[in-house]
């Protein structure tokens, strides 16, 4: 029986929907940072599995929705990047106030765009899943959704999927049903690896890559960028389905197995320190 607590945590601006799974003996803490917009929906089923796996390894897991998203309070129109970052810091401070155990962050896909130097200073390690540190490209892809939706609707005029509207005095942007302040997208577009200082904490990078294929140039550049900033980077190649891209619900079992091994290292870091030093890159 999993000990699960569902709550509304008081965030910086309003309540955050949170699911906490607490093992009998907490060996470390792990906060799952949801990726942005549609990616949150595409990864939710997987994050639940990961959170349960983490719990079973003795990690207290926190899954929450950002302010203005999912089941949390507020509207997306009221959200901004600084607020989301502040909410993460608040939770980190709360955990640290009651525990001396290590705190880790799990960051799938665009969730890394929420990272700041301050956040990285408060944690013992990060688990990155196919991270995309290129905020400009992420926003470009998001905006393309509106163009693609126009195409699929065969609508040559302005569609419901991309419009600028007026609410109070603030001009809003609406992409594929996500209505927000343009400043939120601007802030996200401004996020990139160069904004982060060196962070020499545990850093696991899960990269989806078939053994028969070379890493694309853009992915390689991002990995090298992190390698320059983090001396503990450990890349784990994952030969599995990119579950977040699929039009069908899929589970990446090979990824979950690899992630489970990492969870066990986080729970018992001392016994694995020798192994950590022995090999920097682990493949399937």
């Amino acid at each position: 029986m999993i000990s699960t607590k569902v709550e509304f945590y008081q965030g910086t601006k309003g309540p955050l929907f949170r699911i906490i799974r607490t093992p009998e003996k907490v060996l470390a803490h792990l906060i799952f940072i949801a990726p942005l917009f549609e990616q949150a929906n595409q990864t939710r089923h997987h994050i639940t599995r990961s959170a349960i796996n983490a719990y079973q390894q003795g990690l207290q897991s926190f899954v929450f929705d950002h302010y203005g998203t999912g089941d949390s309070g507020g509207e997306l129109t009221e959200a901004n990047l600084a607020l989301w970052q502040q909410d993460i810091l608040l939770q980190l401070a709360d955990i640290a106030a009651h525990s001396t155990q290590a705190i880790y962050l799990s960051l799938p896909l665009s969730a890394v765009l929420l990272l700041s130097n301050e956040i990285l200073r408060q944690v013992d390690g990060v688990l990155l899943q196919q991270p995309d540190f290129n905020g400009k490209r992420f926003v470009q892809q998001f905006k393309r959704l509106a163009l693609a939706a126009q195409l699929t609707k065969n609508n040559s005029t302005e569609s419901d999927d991309f419009k600028h509207g007026e609410l109070s005095e603030q001009p809003l942007i609406d992409i594929a049903g996500y209505q927000m302040q343009p400043s939120l997208l601007d802030a996200l577009a401004g996020q990139n690896l160069n904004k982060l200082a060196d962070f020499h904490i545990d850093c696991y990078w899960f990269e989806w890559q078939s053994p028969s294929e070379e890493l694309s140039l853009s992915r390689l550049k991002q990995q090298q960028g992190v390698e320059h900033k983090n001396s503990k980077l450990r890349v784990e190649q994952v030969d599995d389905v990119k579950f977040w891209q699929s039009t069908e619900l899929q589970i990446a079992q090979a990824f979950l197995r690899k992630e489970l091994r990492v969870f066990s290292k986080l729970a018992f870091p001392q016994s694995n320190s020798a192994k950590l030093l022995s090999s920097k890159t682990e493949t399937n």
Binding site: Q141, L151, T152, R219, T247
Partner: protein
Amino acid sequence: MTSAQAHEQTLEQKNKQTTAQLIKLLIAIIPNYDDDFWHAETELFGAIAEFDSMALVTLIGEMEDYFDITLDDDDISAENFASVASLTELVLERN
């Protein structure tokens, strides 16, 4: 073999490789069809229900990543995404 023939053969090979890779990307995004469903003439936009705006944008991202190309917003058209063959043409043009 003349140099023109050799050149044509190289182009044909590149075309085949690009098509094969595009099919791999498509299968990853739309996994609910048998492998033999996919070939150069498979129609996409407007023909496959699962090929919606999300799938289309995901495919664009994967194409840019894998082929190391940059697509313009103008490239997002019904013509370019009509079939695997038209996509192959687009990639080869941008490469």
